[in-house]
């Protein structure tokens, strides 16, 4: 496909990045994985059903398999590779490891992005009173085949049990 592709410019995990020769029919997921060297977003269904390819597109979590690469031209894209910093794993990442929410881990990058979004919304007070039922609603678009989700909930409770998050009903199930 050489010579037929587009030039794609993204602000990727905070850095300006360019890929040339990206085939026009490529999804954002395909572009990230095959042209920007970021395979963290996963290719489990490529139909928008499983959430394993979730990335931030201009601050909103999206299924990157459903976004054409060209639609992301010039946009800010955040992937799982951008969650950790020099100080180490983010709170959300550490919570998933510690809680045992990672088994095969194929769904994990997608969950992490959605939970990161929840965390940001909780801090911004655009959501309050996150209890288990609401966490379940929020994560209903992400499939996991290994864990039965129980330890994912544990991880989310831990990740949201942040001093800056209203604590009253966090983790309450009854």
């Amino acid at each position: 496909m050489t010579g037929k592709g587009i030039r794609l410019e993204l602000t990727l995990n905070g850095k300006r990045q360019v890929a040339t020769d990206v085939p026009a029919n490529t999804s954002l997921l395909g572009a990230l994985r095959d042209h920007f060297g970021l395979p963290g977003a996963k290719n489990a269904c490529e139909q928008g059903e499983c959430g394993s390819c979730t990335v931030f597109l201009d601050g909103t979590p999206v299924c990157s398999c459903l976004v054409a690469a060209g639609q992301a031209q010039g946009a800010a894209v955040g992937t799982v590779e951008g969650l950790a910093d020099e100080d180490g794993l983010s709170l959300v990442q550490q919570a998933f490891v510690t809680a045992g929410a990672v088994q095969c881990g194929f769904c994990t990058p997608g969950f992490l992005m959605v939970v990161r979004d929840l965390q940001l919304r909780a801090r911004g007070r655009t959501i309050i009173n996150l209890d288990d039922d609401e966490v379940r609603e929020a994560l209903a678009g992400n499939l996991c085949r290994c864990t039965g989700y129980e330890k994912v909930i544990d991880a989310v409770r831990a990740a949201l049990a942040d001093p800056d998050v209203p604590r009253r009903s966090v983790g309450a199930s009854g």
């Binding site: 489990a44 139909q47 194929f106 994990t108 992490l112 039922d133 996991c144």
Partner: protein, 804 residues
């Protein structure tokens, strides 16, 4: 419950150290098989049959081969060696030979510069088919002499027929004791493993004419064993390395793209990567056998089973895969963990032109479990008994004889499991709206308002919602059965690096998500008394570990690592004896030395007055101690083909579930409110991983009960996508309360019992029983459909006999 005697070691056996691959998995750096890349690599694509049964009249690859960017187009004529393979019988063509036998069977493969070109080239291959009538009804396949044969060279469509005969259920003197007889028919649909990481791998040709394959699989050596003859290579020229595995659940036992990518790499002399998309994945691996089962249970007035009869038909699809062994499980465990002296079980595995079926978590025991547990409920209902009580009365225990004549060695604590289960707290009563109250009711923050069946948004106002409670019990064999020696091999090395002792463990065992990689290091820490243990990548440079299947890796590879560590320990002690003979006085024995905290101690445990003798760093110095050991479980025997008698299984594991459900009896929708599970695991090796297995297994059982089915019509697969094949989401899964029992098995490493599969068995019948309790309908086919549940006249009435 047994008392743990070993001294706990930091991050050793019994602890819950975190996964060594956890950080890589949360940063996106963990390399799954679909993430691999090599300089100059090509992409492979597969052309698959659109028909379940057809003769191939002609294949024309010329247009595809002529396309720019296409490097190879291969058909069965291009297979370098043997043209078929298989795990038990080698009846599966690498690429279709003259005939296709299932929808999606691989016909040709292509390698091209990029995936898009490879896919377009595959579509450009012209195949002329003569379409034949498919064999899609397993009853016909089994018993209709007029049915076409799926394999023309076979006398019938039966892969395996295995009866199990014990006593005589037709004996006249039994009839006096019989108070109730229940005969019912049950059906199980075709479940898919639906692992999230699609089949994928990277084949790299080597300078010596061989191939290196990096692949997601469950058993590297059995892949190698099947691949080498087809590639016309000696096994040592086919080397495999485990790539990151995105779940397995049995679906990676059979080969998928392994030979195809290797053929293309050998032909093009370039690395070739193949990655299935989700649709192709549904065609690219075997599924769980659909089953038709007819059961008769007779019990006396006290609820004790008098006799049982079962006929199980299991649809193996077009090729044998592991159907043989699935039949063995279904037959030998056909009436479950219950004592009964007069039993006839007949299990058939069949060839049809439906998708091939083979291994999935629970492996033949799942289908039978749904039927025998439903039967236990029916018998209880007929006698007016409590469903838990009838299970307690008939429960096996240590020393019980199974219908195969096998005596259960070691604890079989089903009664204890049930007794524990009934003590677990029930959820609060449903807080549904009062009649006339506006809906949905305003929710008080912090107060749990149960998700209604069908979700918050679009269904019931609550009037037709009824609650039900159900129980399910399951028994699963652990390790391979029927005489198979599925040994495992471990190489363990102990050396000093930077002044600290380091143990490295090398096995070929596939980490598929279950946490084996964590456990191997735990065992090394415990056995060698070191803090630092690393697990090397799994590959074929070390002996076979057997499959990550049958809940067997903790037992078998765990056993191998433990045994190799013991050999290393003995050598270390021998080294110490040679270097420092003065360490012990004449009345002390070198055999009393233990390794702990990076040192040799006389006696076990500081609390018992152990004496520090020497640091490992001083004993080893620059010496490296290494040992490779195989671990074999105790021998088992085949089932007699006529009587089904034989000590066929290594170990048994049991779990029990209670399910609480809300059912909208008008719309036929189910919401599982809570599940509770009790499982005996012999010994907890890593609680965090273990809980994850029980939770995940429960979820897959819920999926089978309520939603998961590959729909086929006349052999055609109708729903190969996550849009239409539904697996449980986080909203479908209820809170799961868990109690774990430790009745140590005297014959297994650390007393452990395999744990991954039993919860998948018992979850399903518990949920179905709860739905039955709520709606009062028979529900003899799973997954349940709304029209079976809804109390609408004329809908959901099922066939089959009522009372006999």
């Amino acid at each position: 419950m047994t008392v743990t005697t070993s001294t706990p070691v930091h991050k050793g056996i019994g602890g819950s150290p975190l996964r060594p691959d956890g950080t890589l998995k949360v940063t996106g750096e963990f390399a799954y098989s679909s993430d691999l890349w090599a300089e100059g690599m090509l992409y492979g694509s597969t052309l698959r049959s659109p028909h379940p049964r057809a003769r191939i009249v002609r294949i024309d690859t010329s247009a595809a081969a002529a396309m720019a960017g296409v490097h190879a187009v291969l058909t069965s004529a291009d297979i370098p060696g043997k043209k078929t393979y298989g795990l038990i019988a080698d009846d599966c063509p690498v690429l279709a030979i003259d005939e296709v036998r299932y929808h999606g069977e691989p016909v040709a493969v292509v390698a091209a510069d990029d995936l898009d070109t490879a896919r377009r080239a595959a579509k450009a291959i012209v195949v002329e088919y003569e379409v034949l009538e498919p064999v899609s009804d397993m009853r016909r396949a089994a018993f209709d002499a007029e049915s076409p044969r799926v394999h023309a060279d076979r006398a019938d469509n039966i892969v395996r027929y295995q009866p199990v005969r014990r006593g005589n259920p037709d004996a006249a003197d039994l009839q006096d004791r019989v108070a109730v007889v229940v005969t019912r028919e049950y059906e199980v649909g075709m479940q898919d493993q639906a692992f999230l990481g699609p089949e994928s791998g990277l084949a790299i040709p080597t300078e010596d004419g061989g191939v290196d394959l990096h692949v997601a699989t469950q058993w590297l050596h059995v892949d190698q064993e099947q691949m080498a003859p087809c590639l016309a290579l000696p096994p040592e020229k086919v080397q495999l390395t485990l790539a990151g595995v995105g779940g397995a659940f049995g679906g990676r036992e059979d080969l998928s793209m392994q030979i195809h990518a290797s053929m293309l790499a050998l032909r093009t002399k370039r690395p070739v990567k193949m990655v299935y998309d989700r649709r192709e994945s549904f065609f690219g691996h075997v599924h769980r056998h659909p089953a038709l089962m007819k059961y008769t249970h007779a019990a006396d007035a006290d609820g004790r089973l008098v006799y049982a009869k079962a006929q199980l038909l299991l649809d193996g699809g077009a090729y044998a895969s592991t159907t043989d062994a699935v039949v063995g499980n279904a037959a030998s465990l056909g009436i479950g963990p219950y004592e009964c002296d007069d039993v006839l079980i007949e299990a058939y595995g069949l060839y049809t032109n439906n998708p091939p079926c083979g291994a999935m978590r629970g492996f033949g025991a799942v289908q039978a479990c749904f039927a025998y547990e439903s039967q236990m409920d029916e018998v209880a209902a007929a006698l007016g008994m409590d469903p838990v009580e009838i299970r307690r009365i008939n429960a096996v225990k240590e020393g019980s004889i199974l219908p195969t004549g096998q005596r259960i060695e070691g604890p079989a604590p089903l009664r204890e499991i049930l007794d524990e289960l009934v003590t677990m707290p029930m959820p609060p009563e449903p807080s549904l709206p009062e009649p006339g109250e506006p809906e949905p009711r305003t929710r008080v923050p912090g107060e749990r308002w149960e998700l209604p069946p069908g979700g918050y948004g679009n269904t019931t106002r609550g009037e037709g919602v009824r609650r039900g409670v159900g129980y399910g019990v399951g028994i699963k064999n652990i390790c391979y059965s029927e005489g198979f020696d599925d040994f495992s091999t471990a190489r363990v090395r102990l050396e000093i690096s930077g002044g600290e002792p380091i143990a490295s463990v090398h096995t070929a065992a596939a980490e598929v998500g279950q946490g084996l990689v964590t456990l191997q290091a735990q065992i090394a820490r415990t056995e060698l008394g070191v803090d630092h243990a690393v697990v090397l990548p799994a590959d074929t440079q070390v002996g076979s570990a057997g499959s990550s299947s049958a809940s067997r890796q903790s037992y078998m590879t765990g056993g191998a690592v433990k045994t190799a560590c013991e050999a290393v320990r003995m050598e270390v002690i021998e080294l110490a004896r040679r270097k420092f003979p003065e360490l012990l006085s004449d009345d002390e024995s070198w055999s009393d030395i233990h390794l702990a905290d990076g040192a040799l101690h006389l006696g076990a445990g500081v609390a018992t007055g152990a004496r520090l003798l020497a640091r490992l760093s001083d004993v080893l110095g620059t010496d490296v101690v290494e040992a490779t050991r195989e671990y074999h479980h105790r021998r088992t025997n085949p089932l007699d083909p006529e009587t089904g008698q034989g000590d066929s299984h290594v170990q048994f594991a049991m779990a029990a579930h209670r399910a609480v459900v809300d059912v909208d009896v008008e719309l036929g929708l189910v919401h599982v409110v809570q599940m509770d599970v009790v499982q005996d695991v012999g010994k907890i090796l890593n609680r965090l991983s273990l809980e994850g297995q029980i939770q995940g297994g429960t979820a897959q059982g819920l999926g089978l009960a309520l939603m998961e089915e590959i729909q086929t019509r006349d052999g055609l697969v109708r729903n190969p996508s996550f849009t239409d094949y539904l697996i449980p989401t986080i909203l479908d899964m209820p809170p799961l309360n868990m109690r774990i029992l430790e009745f140590a098995d005297p014959n297994s490493p650390y007393g452990l019992r395999g744990a991954g599969e039993p919860p998948t068995l018992s979850s399903t019948p518990a949920i179905v029983a709860a739905v039955r309790a709520a709606c009062g309908r028979p529900l003899r086919r799973i997954p349940l459909r709304p029209e079976q549940i809804a109390l609408v006249e004329g809908y959901g009435d099922e066939g089959g006999e009522e009372d006999v």
